[in-house]
């Protein structure tokens, strides 16, 4: 009977449709996968492209664990960290048995400090504590001038090697004006370590973003990573776009990240050791592109403190590092190799 044949045909077609729906390959390989954690006092996101969800999740987990490990060693806010142990030790005393990794990073920090003629300083923990930008709730007024003066006086008495690493791998902090604050370098270092973890485990297209310290590898297939640069005066605005499809690290330092206004003055968290106050160099935002995140992190802070002229001079001594500066009046200047596909005045 004709009717029954039609029924059977329809049944077969529906069966095929069901099979097709069930069996259609999921297109996750073409998509970006992203995961965010709260680490190092900020939101850390890892994004991958072109990897299966299982693989990506597994490797991201390792990378987050690596950041966690670095933070546990280098945060001055964690009571059990090696840095806290150092800061709590009596001044002038040699501290031994420090992790080689930490000593290595401190050496690099000291080197950049020297090259920047002291604008970059990893020994500012006591001054940071005076200002209290890491406090919760954040401060609403600057510390008393006498406290700052006291710190400046104490610091003037420091020997050249305020932070000294002895040949037998011990470390000594000279006096109470100095204490380790790796905030300007450790976040970048952690991002570098996390990226190395991703690459070593076969994740080749990745973006790590740790609250302004960023490192990229690979691309999104035929598309570059599409990065915005924040408008320093409009939280949701973007002043430049960076389309990047090669291994690169980006770090931005700005006067808008942590700040308060008191009597019409903007007090931000990037402190100038020479004045014991927030740096006023005529710049409000500095973005550095480098090969590694640690260098980008340290240089963006250094350039912010040094200002345009001295800053760009320092930058020239670092190969393959580029910068974009935003001045107080909103005008921008960038070095020739800085990757920005579109930028406009803020």
């Amino acid at each position: 009977m004709n009717n029954w044949r039609a029924w059977a045909g329809l049944l077969a077609i529906s069966g095929l449709c069901v099979l097709w729906l069930l069996g259609s390959p999921r297109q996750e390989q073409e998509a970006t996968l992203s995961e965010t954690r709260l680490l190092m006092g900020t939101l850390v996101s890892i994004t991958t492209w072109g990897h299966t969800e299982d693989e990506s999740t597994r490797v991201m987990e390792l990378a987050f664990a690596e950041i966690d490990r670095v933070e546990a060693m280098m945060s001055r806010f964690l009571p059990a960290s090696a840095v806290t142990h150092l800061n709590n030790a009596p001044r002038g005393e040699k501290i031994s048995a420090l992790p080689t990794e930490l000593l290595q990073l401190i050496r690099q920090g000291l080197e950049i400090g020297q090259m920047s003629k002291g604008a970059f300083d990893i020994g500012l923990a006591p001054l940071s504590d005076l200002w209290g930008f890491s406090r919760e709730p954040p401060p609403e007024a600057p510390p008393p001038a006498s406290d700052l003066q006291h710190w400046l006086t104490l610091r003037a008495n420091l020997p050249d090697a305020a932070i000294e690493i002895t040949p037998d791998h011990q470390l000594r902090l000279a006096n109470a004006a100095v204490g380790l604050d790796l905030g300007g370098i450790a976040k970048g270092y952690a991002v570098d370590r996390a990226m190395e973890t991703l690459l070593a485990n076969g994740v080749t297209n990745a973006l790590i973003n740790a609250g302004g310290d960023m490192r990229l590898a690979g691309s999104k297939g035929d598309k570059p990573w599409h990065i915005g640069l924040r408008d320093p005066r409009q939280p949701n605005g973007v002043v430049a776009v960076m389309d990047i499809h090669k291994a690169r690290a980006i770090s931005t330092s700005g006067d808008y990240e942590r700040f308060f206004l008191a009597n019409g003055v903007r007090y931000h968290h990037i402190l100038d050791p020479k004045t014991a106050a927030p740096a006023r160099s005529g710049l409000i935002s500095v973005t550095v592109q480098a090969t590694d995140s640690m260098t980008a992190d340290a240089l963006s802070t250094s350039l912010f403190v040094l200002g345009e002229q001295e800053g760009l001079k320092l930058l020239q001594r670092f190969p393959d590092c580029e910068a974009l500066l935003i001045r107080e009046d909103g005008s921008m200047v960038q070095t020739s190799g800085f990757i920005a596909t579109r930028s406009r005045s803020p």
Binding site: N3, A6, W7, L10, L11, I13, S14, C17, V18, L21, L22, E28, A31, T32, S34, T36, R37, L38, L39, G41, T42, L43, S45, T47, F64, E136, P137, P138, L207, N209, G211, G212, M214, K220, W225, H226, I227, G228, L229, R230, P235, V238, V241, M242, I250, S251, T252, G254, Y256, E257, R258, T287
Partner: protein
Amino acid sequence: MRLLTLLARTTTPGDRVTMALSGMAIVGLMLSTRGDPGQRGVIYRDNRPLMTLTLNQDQKKEVSGKLGAVTIQVEQGRIRLVEYNSPRLIGTRTGWIQEVGQISACVPCGILIKVEGARPKQPPTVEFDAVSQ
């Protein structure tokens, strides 16, 4: 069999095609949304899941953060961290979130909420992969 006979008697070929096509469309719809129990808001404290709230049900929950209680509100399929007196509370600036993958956080409280659920077929187009700031 008697049912089938009745069905065969009462339907035209057009009816049968309609039944098959609409049935297939519904099965397809079921498969495409399969395993999706609706969206949920997962609350993390120090990156460990603390609780899961279904977004289908309006509710308010207090969770203990590093700096005291944080209120989390679910309303009309959206979730947010309720205003907390800290300029560094990113969650307050984020406001309501409802798309799978969206995140809101109170960094100093150590609290992060994330909308989880079936991954959308068409991932939401975001303007930037990241913003340097």
